[in-house]
C-alpha cells in the first residue's frame, strides 16, 4: 500500500509526461498529457481492485510505454514526432526497439530536469513559469493551481495555456547537455523554484496543507538539481539550504489552536531539527566558491534565527547587515520592510518607523497586509495605541485568509487592552 503522504501519482506523472514529451516532441505536449491521463486511469482501475503492484513506478512507466507505442503506430502519418524518432517510427521493425531504448533508465533519468528547464523559458513571465512547473511536473490541474495561488480558474487557465503554447512552439526541449545554455538557464530555474516555495511559505492559500505541499514540491524539484552535478552549484546549495531552513519552521507557524504565529512568538522547539541540520549542511557547502546570491543571504538570515531561542537573544546587528547585502543584490520593497523590522529590533521602534517611511516605492507595499502590521507593531511598542490600532485595522482589511484575519484581530484586541500611553 502506498502511504498517503507519498505523492506517488503526482511524482510519476511529472516524470512520465517529461519522458513522453521527449519521445513525441515538445509540439505534442498535449498528446503526452493524454497518454499520462490514460495510464493513471488504468492504474486506478486495476490497483483499486487488485492492489498496488510491487513496483508501482515501473508499472506506470510500462503502461505509458505501451500506450505510447499505440499512439506512435496510430498517428505516424498524421503527426511529426521527435526528430530522433521520425525515421524509426515508419517501420514496425525499428519502432518497438527504438521506443524500448527511449524508455531505458539511463535515457529517462534526465527527462524531469530537461522538462523543468524547458518550462522555465525566459520569455515567459515568472508566474507563468511557476504555474507551468506545477501543472506539468507536479501534475496539478488548472483548478489545483488556481486553488494554490488563490487565483481565478479562468486566469490560471489562460496563463497555463499561453505558457504551453510558448513551450510547444519552442520546437525542441531544452538541451541539458549544452553547458553554456545550462549555466545561463539555471538561475531562471532557481528563481521559479524559489517563487514556488515562497508561494507555499508566504502565500495566500488559507489551507496550510496546500501550502506545505507547494513547499514540498519545490524542495523535491530543487533536490533534482543537487543530484545532477552540473546543476549542483553553490547557488543551488544555497537555495536548497534556504528551503530547508524555512520549511523547518512550518510546524511552528500555526499553534495548537490553529492560530498563526509570527517568527517572534513561535515555539522554536517545534522547528524541525532534521531540516535545520540539513539546511546548515547545505549552507556550508554553498560557500564553496566566490558566488554570493540572494539565496546565500536569505539562507544565512534564516540560519541566524535558528541559533537563537527567541527575538531577545537574536543577533539583530548581523541580520540587519545581511539585509543590507540582500538589498544590494536584489532590492525589493518587501526586503526593505523586513530590514526595517530588523532595525527596529536592534535600535528600537522609532528607528523602525523611520526606516519604513524611507522605503522608496512603499506605495507598492500598501497592499501588503504585513506592511501595515509592521507599522502597527512599532507604534504599539512606542506606546501609541490608537495609531497602532488604525494600522492593524488597515492590515485586517487586506488579510488574505481567515488565519491572517484572526491574527490581526488579536493585535487589534491587544491595542484595546493595553493601558493608555503615559501623559508626557
Amino acid at each position: 500500500m502506498i502511504e498517503p503522504s507519498d505523492h506517488l501519482f503526482r511524482r510519476e506523472a511529472g516524470r512520465i509526461v517529461a519522458t513522453l514529451t521527449r519521445i513525441f516532441g515538445v509540439q505534442n505536449l498535449a498528446l503526452a498529457e493524454d497518454v499520462v491521463q490514460d495510464a493513471f486511469c488504468r492504474a486506478l482501475e486495476v490497483w483499486k481492485l487488485r492492489g498496488v503492484p510491487e513496483n508501482p513506478s515501473a508499472w506506470l512507466m510500462a503502461t505509458a510505454k505501451n500506450r505510447a507505442l499505440d499512439v506512435l503506430r496510430r498517428e505516424r502519418t498524421a503527426r511529426t514526432f521527435a526528430p530522433e524518432l521520425r525515421r524509426l517510427v515508419e517501420s514496425e521493425w525499428t519502432l518497438a526497439p527504438a521506443v524500448e531504448e527511449l524508455f531505458l533508465p539511463h535515457a529517462i533519468k534526465d527527462d524531469l530536469l530537461r522538462m523543468m528547464f524547458s518550462c522555465c523559458q525566459p520569455e515567459l513571465p515568472e508566474e507563468a513559469q511557476v504555474a507551468l512547473v506545477l501543472h506539468i511536473l507536479c501534475g496539478f490541474t488548472v483548478s489545483e493551481v488556481a486553488g494554490a495561488f488563490v487565483s481565478s480558474h479562468a486566469a490560471i487557465e489562460k496563463r497555463i495555456s499561453r505558457a504551453k503554447k510558448v513551450l510547444a512552439g519552442s520546437q525542441r526541449l531544452f538541451d541539458v547537455s549544452d553547458t553554456g545554455d545550462f549555466a545561463e538557464r539555471l538561475p531562471v530555474v532557481h528563481r521559479a523554484l524559489y517563487l514556488l516555495f515562497n508561494e507555499g511559505y508566504h502565500g495566500a492559500s488559507p489551507e496550510s496543507a496546500v501550502r506545505a505541499e507547494l513547499c514540498q514540491e519545490a524542495m523535491r524539484l530543487a533536490a533534482l538539481l543537487l543530484d545532477h552535478p552540473p546543476a549542483a552549484t553553490p547557488a543551488t546549495h544555497a537555495l536548497c539550504a534556504l528551503m530547508c531552513l524555512h520549511a523547518a519552521r512550518l510546524p511552528a507557524r500555526v499553534d495548537a489552536s490553529g492560530e498563526l504565529r509570527s517568527l517572534f512568538e513561535q515555539d522554536r522547539s517545534r522547528w524541525d531539527a532534521h531540516l535545520v541540520a540539513e539546511g546548515e549542511r547545505l549552507l556550508e557547502r554553498s560557500a564553496a566558491g566566490p558566488e554570493l546570491t540572494e539565496y546565500h543571504v536569505e539562507a544565512a538570515i534564516a540560519w541566524v534565527h535558528t541559533t537563537a531561542h527567541g527575538a531577545e537573544d537574536t543577533d539583530w546587528a548581523v541580520i540587519v547587515s545581511l539585509y543590507d547585502q540582500l538589498m544590494a543584490i536584489r532590492p525589493s520593497p518587501v526586503i526593505a520592510l523586513n530590514r526595517a523590522i530588523a532595525v527596529a529590533q536592534r535600535d528600537g521602534p522609532q528607528r523602525g518607523l523611520d526606516e519604513i517611511r524611507a522605503i522608496a516605492r512603499s506605495g507598492r507595499l500598501a497592499r501588503y497586509p504585513f506592511y501595515h502590521a509592521a507599522l502597527g507593531e512599532f507604534e504599539f511598542r512606542n506606546g501609541r495605541q490608537e495609531l497602532a490600532r488604525e494600522h492593524f485595522v488597515a492590515a485586517l482589511a487586506l488579510a488574505r485568509n481567515p488565519m491572517e484575519r484572526q491574527f490581526f484581530e488579536h493585535r487589534i484586541g491587544a491595542c484595546r487592552r493595553a493601558p493608555p500611553p503615559p501623559v508626557p
Binding site: H7, V36, Q37, F40, C41, E45, K48, L49, T141, E144
Partner: protein
C-alpha cells in the same frame, strides 16, 4: 449462514482528473476493500473490466462494438461478497467510494444450488 452477492461497479468519474486526486480515490477504494476483507466479507476481490469489447447478438451472431449501455452506466469491475442477507450486503456497499463520484453499486444475490 453466509450468502454470496456480486457487487457490480457502474459508472463513476470520467474526464480529466489530477494524479493526486486519482491517488486519493484509489486509496479510498483500498481502505474500503481492506476493511471488508478484514471482516470476512470478501469471497473474491474480483477484477476490473476494460471499457471496450464486443457484443455478440442473436441467431445471426452479429458482432458489434456495442451498443453497451451508456458510458456512465458501464460496468467497470466486480467483487464477490459474503454477507448474511441482502440488507447487510446493501449496507456494506454504501461504503464504496464510487458513490462519491456519481457512480453506482449494483448488488446482486448469487443464486444457490439447493434452493
Amino acid at each position: 449462514m453466509m450468502n454470496e452477492f456480486l457487487f457490480l461497479y457502474r459508472g463513476g468519474e470520467t474526464g480529466r482528473r489530477s494524479p493526486e486526486h486519482m491517488q486519493q480515490t484509489m486509496q479510498k477504494w483500498m481502505v474500503w476493500l481492506k476493511e471488508l476483507g478484514e471482516k470476512g466479507h470478501i469471497k473474491d476481490q474480483g477484477q476490473p473490466l476494460e471499457h471496450t469489447g464486443k457484443l455478440v447478438k442473436g441467431r445471426q451472431k452479429t458482432v458489434t462494438d456495442g451498443p453497451f449501455p451508456e458510458t456512465k452506466d458501464i460496468v467497470g469491475g466486480y467483487t464477490l461478497i459474503q454477507a448474511r442477507d441482502l440488507a447487510q450486503a446493501v449496507e456494506l456497499s454504501k461504503g464504496c467510494p464510487i458513490l462519491e463520484f456519481d457512480g453506482a453499486v449494483e448488488v446482486r444475490p448469487v443464486m444457490k444450488l439447493n434452493q
